[in-house]
């Protein structure tokens, strides 16, 4: 298998924000580099978790890491590796709290975001439950299209993946799905009100 490497952190950041192929390679790099995915699996197992716990923690960590990069919350004040380890440690604590809420879990001094609070970027479990209910009303096609849009896939990539006839058709489809999403939210002021109290 081809070994992927990113000599500089900025190369990995560019790949994570790049084309579909570049993103997939970046994800592959996380699996190949022993200091990333394997580090998480080992860390979780040393802390008493199972291999599956390690995989779950890695999944959550990568999702949060990717989001931090995509939304510009990583500013290069620490190396990407250190930053990712911080996120994984934090996710492991969150995972244990979620699995065994009564167990006392030590507080970590490091949070996923070294430049500030991660709270705005994290989506709490309570909010996830409420939002998941709303999401079902959007429909499967729109869920996928909006997901691709949110990950900053280009219209050309969306066209190719979904088999649309042109970039414009893809853009129109995404637009109409986002409008549908807005309507779904506006039609449920009760849920919106509930969300205000679940930050």
């Amino acid at each position: 298998m081809k070994q992927i490497s990113y000599p500089k952190d900025t190369d990995l950041v560019s790949a994570l924000k790049g084309s579909e192929i570049e993103r997939r390679q970046a994800l592959q790099y996380f699996f190949q580099n022993p200091r990333l995915m394997k580090w998480v699996l080992k860390y979780v197992q040393v802390q008493g978790g199972s291999e599956q716990d390690g995989k779950d923690v890695f999944e959550e960590s990568f999702i949060l890491f990717e989001r931090q990069i995509r939304t510009g919350n990583y500013r290069g004040e620490s190396s990407l590796e250190t930053y990712f380890h911080g996120i994984a440690r934090w996710q492991w604590v969150a995972f244990r709290r979620k699995k065994r809420p009564t167990e006392s879990v030590e507080m970590l001094s490091t949070t996923p975001d070294e430049q500030g609070s991660p709270e705005k970027i994290l989506i709490s479990e309570e909010r996830r439950i409420i939002l998941s209910n709303l999401m079902t009303q959007v429909g499967e096609r729109c869920r996928k299209l909006i997901g691709l849009f949110q990950l900053n896939y280009s219209m050309r990539e969306i066209r190719e993946m979904q088999g649309y006839s042109s970039d414009q058709v893809a853009a129109n489809e995404v637009h109409s799905c986002r409008e549908k999403l807005k309507k779904v939210i506006q039609q449920r002021p009760d849920l919106l009100e509930a969300l205000k109290f679940n930050t």
Partner: protein, 287 residues
């Protein structure tokens, strides 16, 4: 100091935690006095978070795909087939020999059945769910068994769980589709099939796609092929179904090889087809 409408341009930065501390404090003061701004912030945040959850679903499927193909240490995270194929192959060979021996000895039934399932049996009530995996190869004619094994293994090695399947994740916990999806990702394929015996209303395409893959992974290729054929008729899974349906038909005993080659050729010749590269790879094996 910002006033009036200016605050609305800061909503995104506020929700992403990107406002400088002093501006953030001013924004929160403005929000306390302005209910409309408060509502706009809440709506924007809900919209952004829902979009993020949808993006998460896509990423999750990519990560799981990697775990299945690249990241798992030897013997871990592999599919059930990949782990156990040697045992299955041995069991199949023994069974073929036993069945052949019984047939030769008794000479009561000179021919083995030509197909597994009766044609035209209703999709939703198919009894094939109950058929143990190991029984399937018994029904392959003995002369064709090695070739059928090759084809099946080729089909299985070309198979990857598509990312679209993760799109059914994240719904209400008690939802049948969510339960079936969980069973599927826990590799409890028969449970997933059983849960989806009747397709849930409003999520038919999702459910049908999930069931087709569950059938495939449980070794019931005939039923998988039927579900994929239904998906090929239209909808967002059409292109996926063309590819996975082809693999299912390939894995069935006595497939029409000529038709399968034509289908394979058609897919690989479409540069925009999401499985064109996989089809090309399979084509090069000389199937």
């Amino acid at each position: 100091m910002n006033t009036g409408d200016n605050w609305y341009s800061h909503i995104e930065d506020y929700n992403l935690g990107q406002l400088p501390a002093d501006l953030k404090a001013q924004f929160e003061t403005a929000m306390r006095d302005d209910e409309a701004l408060q509502a706009a912030v809440a709506t924007h945040r809900a919209e952004w978070e829902m979009q993020e959850l949808m993006a998460e679903n896509l990423l999750r499927s990519q990560i799981r795909e990697q775990f299945e193909t690249l990241g798992a240490p030897p013997g871990e995270g592999q599919s059930w087939w990949a782990k156990n194929w040697k045992y299955i192959l041995t069991a199949v060979v023994v069974m073929i020999v036993v069945v052949y021996g019984i047939l030769q000895t008794s000479k009561k039934t000179p021919e083995t059945p030509a197909h597994i399932l009766p044609q035209g049996s209703p999709v939703d009530t198919t009894p094939s769910v109950q058929v143990p995996i190991a029984q399937t190869p018994e029904k392959i004619p003995v002369e064709d068994a090695p070739k059928a094994q090759d084809r099946r293994q080729l089909a299985m090695s070309s198979y990857r769980i598509p990312e679209s399947l993760s799109g059914v994740r994240g719904q209400a916990d008690e939802d049948t589709l969510a339960l079936a999806s969980k069973a599927f990702f826990d590799k409890k394929y028969r449970i997933a099939v059983r849960l989806l015996t009747n397709l849930p209303e409003g999520e038919t395409q999702d459910a049908l796609s999930l069931r087709a893959h569950a059938y495939f992974n449980s070794g019931n290729y005939a039923a998988a092929s039927r579900d994929f054929l239904a998906l090929e008729k239209g909808g967002i899974y059409r292109r996926e179904a063309e590819w996975f349906g082809l693999l299912a038909r390939m894995a069935m005993p006595n497939p029409d090889q000529k038709t399968i080659r034509l289908e394979l050729d058609k897919i690989r010749r479409q540069p925009n087809h999401p499985f064109a590269r996989d089809a090309e790879k399979l084509w090069r094996t000389g199937f």
